[in-house]
Amino acid sequence: MAANSVNVKTENTNTARSIGTRRGRLSDQIARGIFFVCAVLVVVIIFGVFVFLGINGLQMFKDPAARNFFTSSSWDPSADSPSYGALGFILGSVVTTLLSIIIVAPIGFGMALYMTEMAPRWVNALLRPLLEVFTGVPSVVIGFLGLVVLVPWIANIAAPIAPSAANAGNGWAAATLILVIMILPTVVSVSIDALRAVPDSVREASLALGSTRWQMMKDAVLPAAATGLGTAIVLGMTRAIGEALAVSMVLGGDIHLPAKLLTPSVLFQPNINITNAIVLYFSEASGTERNGYFMLGFVLLIISFLFICVSRYIASRSVYK
């Protein structure tokens, strides 16, 4: 009898446990499903970005007047015979991006080299947080600072060679310098990661062969970190080409590319780029013009996508990660 009751008891706890387990299993399954949906959401979003911008942008080519999008630099949607040439905008973005990365790359690599190879600890303790703050600094703050400090300063210096002294501060030169400030922290941070990834054995081997510290950096560390530094450049360019408000605040241009493109003065007069055009005119545009701004956004999207692909390709070839 006594043995029997013990038996019943164990059976009871057994069923209770199995119910508990079943409930656990079920909640496990549900949780897993929810997590899966959230993870796939990233793919859905990026897919949606391409599809929606692509469809709306490409619709502009239904309008025969828009056929010159990639062949002309005259953007004048409100003219009697409207023209939708976007080359001027694209040129603006490309020029400012290239100029800024040319300035940023040596400075960024130099800072990263100093901070990883030479700096005393307190310099890093001070600079790393500063760089982190600056990677996230609002672009309007930099833009505002550019307007009140940089633009008057450039105007003073460049007034003699600019076509109009009054707004010599606006334009590609100011935009380039703004971009330098905005992408330098990114380039330095990524470069530091790239240099840190080079194992110390590389440095020690080079020093053991009798090289000076500079030879060690130049001939051992930099080549070993080349792919990582390449990624830093590409990521910097990705940020630069998409930067909108800060650049748009100092560009000061509307829709017209300056007439004389091959003189230095082109840098020191109100000028245009892709983001500036979208920021200024998108909200009041309609019809083909509106689709044109979507198309400009789509062009930006494609360019940044290509940059990301290139940076992934470079990163996949790196030896040290």
């Binding site: 897993r32 899966f36 990233v42 897919f47 996230g136 309007v140 703050v141 307007l147 999207l301 992934r312």
Partner: protein
Amino acid sequence: MSAQQQISTSVESDERQRLLSLERLTQRLHLKNNIASGILALITLLGALLFILIVIKVLWDGIPYLINPDFYGSTGTGTVGQQIFNTLYLLILSEIILVPIALAAAIYLVEYARQGPLVTVIHFAAETLAGVPSLVLGLFGYLVFATVLHLGLTRLTGTLTLLCLNFPVALRLFEDALTSVAREQREGGLALGSTKWHMIRTVVLPSSLPGIITGIVLSAGKVIAEAAALIFTMGSSNPSNVYTLNPMISTDNLTIHIWYLKTVGAGTIPDNVANAVSAGSAALLIIILLVINIGSRSIGRLIQRKVMAA
């Protein structure tokens, strides 16, 4: 003079010359090394000075306005009380939406998903999304949330756009936080017979809390700083009363306000007032970001100590 002597002197002078040239080489290398070190130090000094001067300039110009309590009012020109409220509102609403979704996605990628094409695709998608310019995401938000979903230019549309913008960033940070938990801890939990989800809740999430908090705080910084994605999705002006929790109204925030005053809305209020408001708001934003960046480290450390002690 014998031939032998001649040979020995020439060997000696050869030796001396070799030594001399080696010495010169060493000197040249050391000189080069010193010059290069000097240049690198100088570049770093100038770069650091640039950043420090920018911070000082923004604070110097803005703090005189910040200490004036009228600056935080909501009536009259030159006040930003409404914009501060909007920024905080947007921050909280977008964190409420962002954190659960990004955390769930991170949990799936770290705990459940097998290494394979799906994970690669998701990571590639996240990386691509992180590289999309915020202005382009603003256009996307306008198309999808405002137009297709008929939400119009509202706080909700802005929040959803910010979700797209911050999702990949938060996902990355949360993934890092989760992977930092040791495998033995997980196996211990599973060996005690808990299901995976139970193990995640009781073992992984508590011990990765510092990293998760850091992720939340850093994405908060991005929400506060963002403007380009919001001007087409949330609007750039305020209704008469912004102090409601209604997500279906169109408002601005601090960053949009600065941009608006200096570009599209230039001339709506006197130029010196616009400059004053912009300078003050810029200083306020910089202070918030400094606090967030320093705070995220110390909060993370503090929590870590608490968790470790418990």
